[in-house]
Symmetry: C2
Subunit: 354 residues, 2 copies
Amino acid sequence: MSIVSPGRRRITLSDVARGCDVSRATVSLVLRGSPLVHSETRARVEAELKRQGYVYHRGAANLRRNVSTSVALVINDLSNPFFAEFAGGVDEALAAAGYVTLLGSTGESTERQRAVLASLLEHDPAGIILSPAEGSDGTQLRTLVGARTPVLVFNRQLDHDDRHGAWDFLALDNVRGAFLATEHLLARGHRRIAFFGGHRDSSSCRQRRDGYRAALAAAGIEAEPQWLVECAPTRLEAARQVGALFVRDPAPTAAVCYNDAVALGLIAGLTTRGRRAGDDFAVVGFDDIPEASVSAPPLTTIAVDPRARGRQAAELILQRLREPDAPARTTVAAVQLQVRASSDAPRSHTGDNA
Amino acid sequence: MSIVSPGRRRITLSDVARGCDVSRATVSLVLRGSPLVHSETRARVEAELKRQGYVYHRGAANLRRNVSTSVALVINDLSNPFFAEFAGGVDEALAAAGYVTLLGSTGESTERQRAVLASLLEHDPAGIILSPAEGSDGTQLRTLVGARTPVLVFNRQLDHDDRHGAWDFLALDNVRGAFLATEHLLARGHRRIAFFGGHRDSSSCRQRRDGYRAALAAAGIEAEPQWLVECAPTRLEAARQVGALFVRDPAPTAAVCYNDAVALGLIAGLTTRGRRAGDDFAVVGFDDIPEASVSAPPLTTIAVDPRARGRQAAELILQRLREPDAPARTTVAAVQLQVRASSDAPRSHTGDNA
DNA sequence: CTGAAAGCGCTTACAG
DNA sequence: CTGAAAGCGCTTACAG
């Protein structure tokens, strides 16, 4: 004879059925709002459900019905405000559609990404929204995920194409964003414009560089090799690399940055070197993270609206669940220039007359 | 005769068992690492698991075993960097312990909180980490959640105590934080120090005001009523309320702010009024959000380390799962003063000689 | 060491 | 309109 702590045992359909003298089937029909149940019976069952504090066990129901009401969201890390906003948008749209969000973080490690995906897959998500860790391989991911679970890839292209047909892809318009940023600096009179930060092997960096080059080309300028400075996309690394911009004369008077973190690092590095961003050097960022609007000087940047991108990603995976057999699609999300006084000094202020 | 798309059907234990001529029981024992299985049989089964691309269905297993491997995390919103960091810490620690995080956002609405909790409970979380929406009622939450699922409350006290015995509570040391902030301004020579922002009916605001008053009292100062200015804890509202600080002469020369958002709003509002934070008015914040270090001027504030708090919250709920019957506990997390040049001008700079 | 059988909490044809 | 029965994918005593 075992003693069960009060309230510890789960209340099931059977308990409720017993409590109001109907079958489990009838209670189930009431729960699912079936019109088959007599309204008086329904009322009795509903009273009993409430009386016993019944909680629906969606997992059991999903098992029986062979459906899933969760979507896995795998991102780099919530400490990055870009992904935090993105995740907020995903969760908002998924919750509105009746899905629950399963969270996973890779910390930009493909090894952790493997482990996180394997663990999440065991929870049977209906689909996966994946912002891949840098260096993720499409073929490997396909082996891990299989063909049963649709994946929406966000932000970063996978390294290898996939024999089974590509996954859906939500891309930022990196080319156009960098084009707009560069065009803005050109319009303010700059001619020697650097592209600062990021790694050449990241697809988003290559695309942003392409947009940058295209804007320069449209103005009849060819990017000089020393204007292209690589560094890890963090504030600290960017601050360390600032010197590379000024090794040769004439040095650039402005920089399009790979992202806002790099731009903030550049601003800090300029200060260290006795220069003032927005005063004698122009800086434009990419992403429009929350810090961009309160930095000193405020940062002109490319707004990506990560929260809206999150909602969009959720809509795309939900649509895929509705049409599992439609061909894979790439969606390119628009970006826009967010001008703020005054990280983007005009050339006249930089004391440059070359 | 229905045609199944290749790879759409789930591979189950039965498929694997059939594929290598053993019973489902044996496959299950292999999966769970039982020493009962002959090593040769084990090898055969493992090869077949891999060959068929088997994915464990943890939901089915958990149903049978009556356990859960998920924890629900309910917060205000991931757009708030404080909660994003907190969530990152929670997820990190839960993942390390083999749990998956179910995410839910309230947007500070108790109505949405009800709906989100009801939905998450249907997914049978082992426990819930809840940062309650403002105005959450403990009695109502108890009715909703029941006695089966342990809850760790974070950051904000619930409105009513609970007859069933309180839930675990992870609190920030708000009193001490505000005390440290106020003491710092006193040490810099200020005597007329305001407490700016927050709502009196929020428990964290009351506690921070208590710490502020205690520090003033220790210096023989009593807070004047007009030094206590309420406003919603957002940048925008704070900027709008700045005028209230200067309605009477002599006005305060410094302010302890309810949080960093309010502090940043105050800094902006001061600028609008032709004053300069850190130059002729001293500002101290609370939370140490990422913007605090890059604002102009950088913000001296109280560091709460939300990521560490997230890890701590996860540890506390995991411990509760291990000891369901231990008495409920309140844990107070330490906070510390983060001094940054130079939002915290000394009084001599404020031109105040009163 | 391996297999047959019962059961977790639910749903859904099917019969009445 | 209601109930008995089978089954979703797994686990676990129990028997052999």
